[in-house]
């Protein structure tokens, strides 16, 4: 199959800007703090304790990270399985975000795990524990990360074919790498469809299981969120946030590289976003009604306020906004509406994993420490930096006039 279709090209813009400087500072701070955590232990850095074993790093770095990487499988399914070819320009950036997103889920997990060097244990057959939802999540995420790297390989092949060269001391590997990529390109052109479908299946599995994780704590998770259909809600919300995340990123990177937002793709995509957000909203509200849990909405607690903000500002408001054609056609309104959806799903993950988690013997509430927050911010900053490096080297973003030359490739050969 024609893997990625439309012309994409490396971005030809100056790499260092003040914004990049800020990101580098955040990344450096996080690097230092991570080192500190590895030397002095979790207690020295986090506000985690025996009552609150999971905090910001699991809720945001892992759970939210996985949800917001959903643009990868939703746009792959849309273009390569349901053949909506007009959306091809967003597939490569979404794929890159997913690939980096899942890689950083792994990095975030390394900081949080007490015995991070045992992270390979779930892959070892003698330690498989099929009853564990976390086992399923772990295996799927590992498998999907591999699939994402494979899906990204054609982009690297294209880079090589168009004269991309390894730089610095890596140049000694130039020839073997080039040969490997040629073989990979030939093999993948025939088999890519298998990986694309596998990616969608694996995503559906672990996106839903991420919700099933908290079903093991029926007496600790607040009834506004605890429902047997939590896995379904997680899957639906991941699908619902996929396209908004793609739109969000596309507009942020357009702004960053001083390009015109691709409204001819984003406006129709927002109609799909509206559809899936509607399905999620219907499921969420129906669930609340069926379980008679809506009584908790008006008890004035912190949890009820957070639920109202999550559903009100993160689901209902953007849904109503996107109903209007004017919003879908206006770059700034479209950006606002989709940012709300992205924040809404992020808040949902934070709510399920932190706010809803209410252990009986707790003497105080868990609030993330400055160190936890800075490491999370640093991870996000590093992800954005790597994204910027990748789109500068590889043909990821749609080709724009004047941007055809690879900036870091030194020389472009035909």
């Amino acid at each position: 199959m024609s893997a990625h279709g439309l012309a994409a090209a490396p971005v030809n813009r100056k790499f260092f800007t003040p914004g990049v400087g800020v990101l580098m500072v955040l990344a450096a701070i996080a690097g230092g703090l991570a080192l500190y955590r590895f030397v002095f232990g979790l207690a020295s850095m986090t506000n985690l304790d025996d009552r609150y074993p999971w905090g910001l790093w699991i809720a945001v770095d892992v759970a939210t990270g996985v949800a917001l990487a959903a643009g990868g499988f939703t746009s792959a399914a849309l273009t390569h399985i349901f053949h909506r070819g007009r959306y091809l320009p967003v597939v490569r950036p979404a794929l890159l975000t997913a690939m980096l997103g899942y890689t950083f889920v792994g990095l975030g997990l390394m900081v949080d795990l007490g015995r991070y060097y045992n992270i390979w244990h779930p892959a070892w057959p003698t330690m498989w524990q099929g009853n564990s939802v976390l086992f399923e999540v772990g295996m799927c995420v590992m498998a999907y990360l591999t699939v994402l790297y494979i899906e990204f390989l054609p982009i690297v092949c294209e880079w090589s074919r168009k004269g991309g060269r390894l730089w610095g001391p890596l140049a000694v590997f130039q020839n073997p790498v080039k040969r490997f990529l040629e073989v990979a390109e030939r093999t993948l052109s025939k088999t890519m469809v298998v990986f694309i479908i596998a990616g969608v299946v694996l995503s559906c599995m672990h996106q839903s299981s991420l919700g099933a994780l908290m079903l093991i704590a029926p007496y600790k998770v607040h009834p506004l969120w605890y429902t047997p259909i939590l896995p379904l809600l997680f899957l639906l919300s991941a699908i619902a946030v996929g396209f908004p995340m793609v739109i969000f990123e596309s507009m942020v990177s357009a702004k960053s590289f001083r390009r015109e937002p691709e409204m001819h793709v984003l406006t129709p995509l927002s109609r799909l976003a509206l559809l899936f957000l509607g399905i999620y909203m219907a499921a969420k509200i129906t669930d609340l009604m069926v379980r008679n849990a809506y009584g908790h909405l008006w008890d004035g607690s912190f949890a009820s306020t957070m639920f109202m903000v999550e559903v009100g500002a993160g689901v209902l408001l953007p849904f109503c906004m996107l109903l209007s054609g004017r919003v879908r056609r206006s770059p700034s309104w479209l950006f606002i509406a989709n940012t709300l959806i992205v924040l809404g799903v992020a808040l949902n993950r934070i709510n399920v994993y932190i706010v809803a988690y209410q252990p009986h013997y707790a003497t105080h509430r868990y609030v993330p420490s400055i160190g936890e927050i800075l490491i999370t911010l640093g991870l996000i900053a590093t992800l954005m930096l790597v994204y910027r490096v990748f789109v500068t080297i590889f043909p990821v973003l749609p080709a724009v006039e004047g941007d055809a030359l690879p900036a870091l490739g030194r020389r472009a050969e035909g």
């Binding site: 999971w54 939802v133 479908i197 007496y219 896995p231 013997y361």
Partner: protein, 310 residues
């Protein structure tokens, strides 16, 4: 094989039906569930001497504090929970009517018959030993702490300060000691037998109900742990309703039942994922390309909108 969009939708419906058929099965019944060992705690007999805490500390090599430090009764002023170097703690519950006779309650891992932590652990670091004790293998553990999320009694503690080899810490029912040295758990050995009784779970339940029947004025008619979360191996007798003594009110359903049923029906023999794989594969041939190159584009933009399925 000619597959159009209508045919694809039929396939989708068939797939959904198959997936819904699963959940009826799934629950496995462990025939040995009552064969294991257990401990009966008669809280009416406890005098708050904290010797069980000391015995546990010694036997498990925990904090290594002196015997005298365990005689300090000022710890009763604040409610305590188990921590990384204390597998068991005794708490005091003052009684307004009889101020000189407070009620003492010993807490530790309840050793559930269907433990949530064992079900949650993704690498099998927590397992149920043959006599029923829930034991921990630090060598397998990744330190994800999902067991702590899962435990309904909030028992497992963690060595957050250890940067390299932190462990999940909880009562292991003196498993090694019982198995290798043919002894009973250290706390029970130290405590007068009326207060802590070690034995087969079935026999202890019978004994507990016998005591209740014999002294109906002394006990509430309830054995905590008989049914809670599907049964636990630590059973309690008390003179007061258990919720007044720091016990959580928990239902009878085993905690892992929902997740395991969901998990094993959604992934039953890998059929549903493979089915989804097939459905998506079929979709690839069923859906026409709408890409903007070629003649298809103009027509496509107006007529076949990707409603519903895409």
């Amino acid at each position: 094989m000619e597959l159009n969009r209508r045919g694809f939708l039929h396939l989708l419906g068939a797939g959904a039906t198959c997936m819904c058929a699963g959940p009826a099965l799934g629950e496995s019944n462990d025939p040995t569930e009552d064969d294991g060992m257990a401990m009966l705690v008669d809280t009416t007999e406890c005098i708050g001497c904290r010797k069980c805490e000391f015995a546990c500390d010694q036997a498990q090599g925990l904090s290594g504090r002196s015997r005298e430090s365990f005689e300090d009764t000022s710890v009763f002023d604040q409610p305590r929970r188990m921590v990384a170097d204390a597998y068991t703690v005794v708490n005091r519950y003052p009684q307004p009517n009889t101020p000189d006779q407070p009620i003492y309650v010993k807490s530790q891992c309840m050793h559930c018959v269907k433990p949530a932590c064992v079900s949650a652990c993704l690498v099998g670091a927590l397992t149920t030993a043959e006599n029923g004790a829930v034991v921990y293998d630090a060598g397998k553990c990744m330190g994800c702490r999902y067991c702590m999320v899962a435990c309904p009694f909030e028992v497992p503690a963690y060595e957050y300060s250890d940067p390299l080899t932190p462990r999940v810490r909880k009562c292991v029912f003196c498993f090694e000691r019982v198995k290798n040295e043919a002894k009973i758990p250290a706390c029970a050995e130290m405590c007068p037998p009326m207060c802590l009784t070690y034995g087969k779970r079935t026999e202890l339940l019978a004994l507990a109900h016998e005591r209740i029947a014999k002294y109906p004025d002394k006990y509430v008619n309830n054995v905590y742990g008989e049914h809670e979360v599907g049964g636990t191996r630590w059973l309690y007798l008390a003179a007061k309703p258990f919720e007044e003594l720091g016990f959580l009110t928990l239902g009878d359903k085993p905690i892992p039942q929902l997740t395991e049923t969901l998990q094993h029906s959604i992934f039953k023999f890998g059929i549903p994922p493979l089915l989804l794989f097939g459905v998506l594969g079929a979709a690839i041939t069923a859906f026409k390309d709408d890409s903007s190159h070629g003649a298809a584009s103009a027509k496509d933009a107006s007529s076949s909108k990707p409603k519903g399925v895409s």
